[in-house]
């Protein structure tokens, strides 16, 4: 009984992490560090809910969230590729812009600094879960296939490992990198949409509450591979669901012990990263700006 509840919770809560972590994998496989996932998710979550309210259609809202993430990705690509900005700094700046801009828009357009009204239309539920949940169970395998079995996927990996060699072989490094970062943004935006359209039915100003950073951790944990990141994201969602169940079962709230359970997934992650995973190797040219010869 508890097992099925936990499984159901994992399917519901994993999509934001899975999608954003895959965005991170794609971006960094192509050699662009992406610390802006948190900001991209925030834009996605906000515009998905706002789009659903404005258009009266949850699917169009989903499209808005995806597009907003892609535009945020394009901003990161523009700064770090066109202007060779420090990619770490650009990503952090994107998070800060998202924090300020979304709060500003929430106050200006919806008159609240805490939450948006519930989006009237909601996504359909298939077998108790929204389509995003099922999509995020499939995309990791698609991305794995793309990176390992297609020519474009090979090129993506090449520009992340040795861009100069890839350029010599006739690949347009900067264009392909930009494309990867934009698609990464779209994935993170979709992950953000899952927060405001699937897990909850509205946008809350604290979103994504660190999910973007957890996605980064999942990416590293999964050693920069789509399936590894997928497994890591599922593990985080599982630890979170387990924590909720344990907390409920032991009445932790009444004993003021909820903090221990809330901290548990992060402690587990640190122990696993420090104890078992060992040193993970990022793509060789990750974060190195590329100058066209």
């Amino acid at each position: 009984m508890i097992a099925t509840e936990i499984l159901s919770a994992v399917i519901d809560f994993a999509p934001p992490l899975v999608l954003a972590a895959l965005g991170g994998v794609l971006s960094e496989k192509a050699g662009v560090i992406n610390l802006g996932l948190e900001g991209m998710m925030r834009f996605g979550a906000f515009f998905a809910a706002a789009g659903a309210i404005w258009t009266g259609n949850a699917w169009l809202g989903l499209g808005c969230g995806l597009l907003a993430g892609a535009i945020a990705g394009a901003a990161h690509a523009y700064a770090s590729l066109r202007w060779r900005a420090d990619q770490v700094v650009s990503g952090v700046a994107l998070n800060l812009v998202a924090l300020g801009l979304v709060t500003f828009l929430l106050e200006a357009l919806f008159g609240s600094s805490a939450t948006m009204p519930s989006a009237a239309p909601s996504l359909p539920h298939w077998a108790g879960h929204t389509p995003i949940a099922f999509v995020s169970l499939v995309i990791p395998f698609v991305l794995h296939w793309f990176l390992t079995a297609t020519v474009t996927g090979l090129r993506v990996r090449a520009i992340g490992e040795h861009p100069r060699a890839a350029a010599t072989a006739g690949i347009s490094v900067l264009r392909l990198r930009a494309l990867c970062v934009i698609v990464a943004g779209a994935l993170a935006g979709l992950g953000g949409s899952a927060l405001s359209l699937s897990i909850l039915d509205r946008f809350e100003n604290r979103m994504p509450a660190g999910a973007g950073f957890m996605a980064l951790a999942a990416m590293v944990f999964g050693k920069w591979t789509p399936l590894g990141a997928f497994a890591a994201a599922l593990f985080f969602a599982f630890a979170d669901a387990l924590q909720r169940q344990l907390s409920l079962a032991t009445h932790a709230n009444d004993l003021h012990l909820a903090g221990f359970f809330l901290a548990l997934p992060y402690v587990l992650t640190l122990l696993l990263l420090g104890g078992f995973v060992g040193r993970a190797t990022p793509p060789a040219a990750n974060g190195v700006p590329y100058e066209e010869a």
Partner: protein, 360 residues
Amino acid sequence: MTSASTLRARLFAPRWQPLLIPLTAVSTALVAGFLAMWLFGKDAPQGFALMAEHALGSANAVGESSIKAAVLTLCGLSVTVAFTAGLFNIGAEGQFTVGAITAAWLGAALDLPAPLELLVVTGAAMTAGAAWALIAAWLKVRRGVHEVISTIMLNWIALHLVQDWLVVGPLAAPSSNAQISLAGTVPVHASAQLPRLIAGSRLDFGIVYAAIAVIFCWLLLSRTVAGFEIRLVGAAPGVAEASGLPNARRTYQAMALAGALAALGGLLLVLGTEHRYPGTFRTGYGFDGIAVALVGGASPLGTALAGIFFGLLRAGAKGLQLVGIQPSFAELLQGVSVWLVSAPLLFAALFRKLRGARAT
């Protein structure tokens, strides 16, 4: 640019240069903010005048600005010191929280004579913050865990343990109220509070702490052998290793100092303004520290300037409500200026264009 000249440039940058880009970015962001206000049909000149008044217009305003500036500067310094050693400390938020709760706990639990109490509590809070940061340093040096990931995890662990256990459990103020979580911890003794400096203003001794920290970091990083070694470990770990520098020890030292500085920021809010760890306390000052350090060009003096600027902006933004603009506008400008700082080449191109325009 060859790697040798990059290293040289990083270690011996001309003193004015680190300030040029941040100043340009900040003023560009201000101009953009002014234009945005104007485009939204708000009274932009009036808005900026109100901002200035709320930031500097009275003793009270100066007090509010300096409190914010001091905390932002300390969190910024934390990120700056770690940056110098080549570490990206996203964990200032967690170290800040650990410092704040230690100050709140000992400030209430200890009852020592006036100057001693404050000194002991300060020392303990900084030690706690340093210890929290050292976990990430140890994981980095010994287990190869990237500090960005470990400090993020440590942030959440600190936040949950402090706010969902200590503040509502063992350290909670006794209260008959069912809403115990809103009460926060037991108030600290008067001897642990930071003395106020001016009547009619909340300006307190914290500003002196921040000033000492800035001077200490500046002296350490630019005037001592240990500071030079920290810079070398950050700029070229391979060179440092080959020169026989104790890389690991410098990493531990830089991270411990970073943790102590962020913890001091948390202490300032608890002992200066709140006088307890409040029940609802989600400041984000630790994350703002990243912005402050980046705009400050990761130098102690630049960080102090950026901290003062953002402190003024935060305090001043309250005035914007009078022309119908939300205070979150300050955070928006902060984000935009960091984004502009991230792309110095954008400015280089702009400067070239301006110079070209002047030449013709």
